[in-house]
Symmetry: C2
Subunit: 343 residues, 2 copies
DNA sequence: AACTCCTACGTCAACGTTGACGTAACCGGC
DNA sequence: GCCGGTTACGTCAACGTTGACGTAGGAGTT
């Protein structure tokens, strides 16, 4: 209520007094429930307007039997990451259309923080949560789910049962990317991945292995670099790969920031037109780089929409069996992935 | 609470019954208030844990005299825009450290939507709001502010009084950018701006005019293109500029998406190494483009921190006069802005 | 005319929590 | 043994709203 005024918020009681009706009648009018005459309805509306009455959803949800707060929690790793931000936006859009608002938080892929945020959301009695699970164990998530909180995981599936999730074709699309590179003649294809505690990293790595196998290539362990959290670390790893006696002629970078780091180093070494790159996850301006970056693009709006649909349905009491929705990703050839090896 | 269990949430009453104390004692223990003995405290804690008790912040805030919901609203234009997303993240971080969560929404620069979202936030009794005002009139914002809701505007100042805001050095930095281009010998410097209803666009345009004047250049009206909302429109406008009989040798692009559109067209016309560009707002990968893009970079974390500090202080009852904080932006020379005109 | 039914209200208690206030037990000092 | 003070509880009402239920009056039916 703050510095200006310090007035008490008008309540239904105040409206009732002004309109000379009972508080219950005000409740009926405000909620468009039957049982209020036309003339009384007008009087109540006028009184509410003149007092600047605003319904109190917290009091209402406390008392109502359904207990809805019309609010969901969204916990992603980092809301400033373009992927997370786009996903949040998609979820928010669909939620808003159902009158549901979004409490958003960044978990930093940290269990403790994720747990604290879950508790904070729970204290505010959100109707459900959409979570990008922090890597490693999911104890706090599982506990929250088992309390009955509707939950949808995005990007990464649960390690426990009974919970919906929405992911993309991590493994299949990774395999396809590697086969694409192999088809151009690349035999030394490196894998640069995010922290290997992340399910997506593991899946993409598995896809990489499958791709190599299917192409009849043998894995060179020293071409695999994981645990690359952020652009800086990815740069270092890329530099190290290029310093090998037999450096890779193509890179499969399994996360957007890793792709950026790799491109940056290739650029500084003037190898960007000679070493092929396919990245997982599209990112803004990938098409404007030199060369434009070939990526596996997730359908972010599609994932967000699906996640929103699922959580809203569960909140509405949908008790059908849990769903693992897989939204297909697509290879977007732009140039960097179409560079053939120097023979 | 959803499909699994359908159990009733345990309340303080349940905990009290199990611990064989009064409900008020449970309240004291849960809130770490004095007046509970050591043995009783242990019993209550044990009971709460065994029942899986979770405090109900909505009930608590309804009853408490301070009425805090420990939640603020954040309404930005588009949460998937990198600038907005980074700002949200900065605000969220600082709020969380004070135990405050963030209800986030995108206004799409639409008054109606902004008004609806404000009402939704108000119904949930948020403690305050941080808003990127939609262009044009600010009636709904002003009304909300006058009700006493603590409010901080970011990126754009209020058209009404008594309200804090945080902006950047739009005009000064724009002038500096134009002077930079002029110093290189550019005499035909175009201005490409976002919708001119936006205060930031106007300020940046004013800075552009000041820069021209200070450099002794005359304004060529046909080199000014505004109302460019989004990358596509910016592309069209850039193409039109380049098709002039006497096209500009330098572009000042006054918003990040506009910069992207301009770079894209310069690239397709192979003019990217001949036409200079300075953009307002940094964006991811600006340093990786060819040429790397010289930009005016806002201190986004600084803006977010300041906004969070202000709103939290106001919520805490700070009644000092309203502040217009200006967080300085910096010119980041990377290459595109250092291209001299062909003589 | 007595009846049922419906509409348009009103009254009351309860949602989960906490502020205000009450009280019994105990402590120290004289 | 009495007083004033403190500690550790408990009781009660209230925050703003709504579900359950009550009731008065009118319309329709028999």
């Amino acid at each position: 209520m703050g510095q200006a005024g310090e007035r008490r918020e008008p309540t239904m009681r105040d409206v009732a007094a002004l309109a000379k009706v009972s508080i219950k009648t005000v409740s009926r009018v405000i909620n468009d429930l039957p049982g209020a005459g036309a003339e009384v309805t007008d009087r109540v509306r006028a009184a509410a307007r003149s007092l600047g009455y605003r319904p109190n959803l917290t009091a209402s949800s406390l008392r109502r039997s359904d207990r809805r707060s019309a609010t969901i929690g969204v916990l992603f790793e980092d809301l400033s990451n373009p992927f997370d931000a786009a996903l949040l936006r998609a979820v928010e859009d669909h939620a808003r259309r159902s009158g549901v608002l979004v409490l958003a938080g960044s978990t930093e892929d940290d269990h403790t923080l994720q747990r604290e945020l879950l508790l904070s959301l729970s204290a505010r009695r959100v109707d459900g949560v959409v979570v990008m699970a922090a890597g490693g164990h999911q104890d706090a998530l599982q506990h929250e789910r088992e309390r009955g909180t509707p939950m949808v995981l995005v990007d990464r599936p649960p390690t426990f049962g009974g919970t919906d999730c929405v992911t993309t074709t991590n493994r299949d699309s990774s395999r396809a990317a590697v086969l694409e590179l192999a088809a151009l003649g690349h035999r030394d294809i490196a894998f640069l991945g995010d922290r290997s505690t992340l399910w997506t990293s593991q899946e993409r790595y598995t896809g990489y292995l499958e791709g190599l196998a299917q192409a009849g290539l043998t894995l060179r362990e020293e071409l695999v670099r994981t645990g690359l959290h952020g652009v800086d670390v990815a740069e270092t790893a890329t530099a190290a790969l290029l310093d090998l006696d037999r450096p890779p002629t193509a890179l499969f970078t399994a996360q957007n920031l890793v792709t950026v780091g790799a491109m940056r180093i290739l650029r500084t070494r003037d190898l960007h037109r000679r070493v092929a790159v396919i990245g997982f996850d599209d990112f803004p301006l990938a098409d404007l780089l030199d060369p434009a970056v070939t990526v596996v693009r997730q359908d972010v709006p599609g994932i967000g929409r699906k996640a929103a649909e699922l959580i809203l349905a569960r909140i509405d009491g949908d008790t059908s069996p849990p769903v693992h929705a897989v939204v297909p990703a697509a290879l977007v050839p732009r140039g960097s992935g179409e560079i053939a090896p120097l023979s």
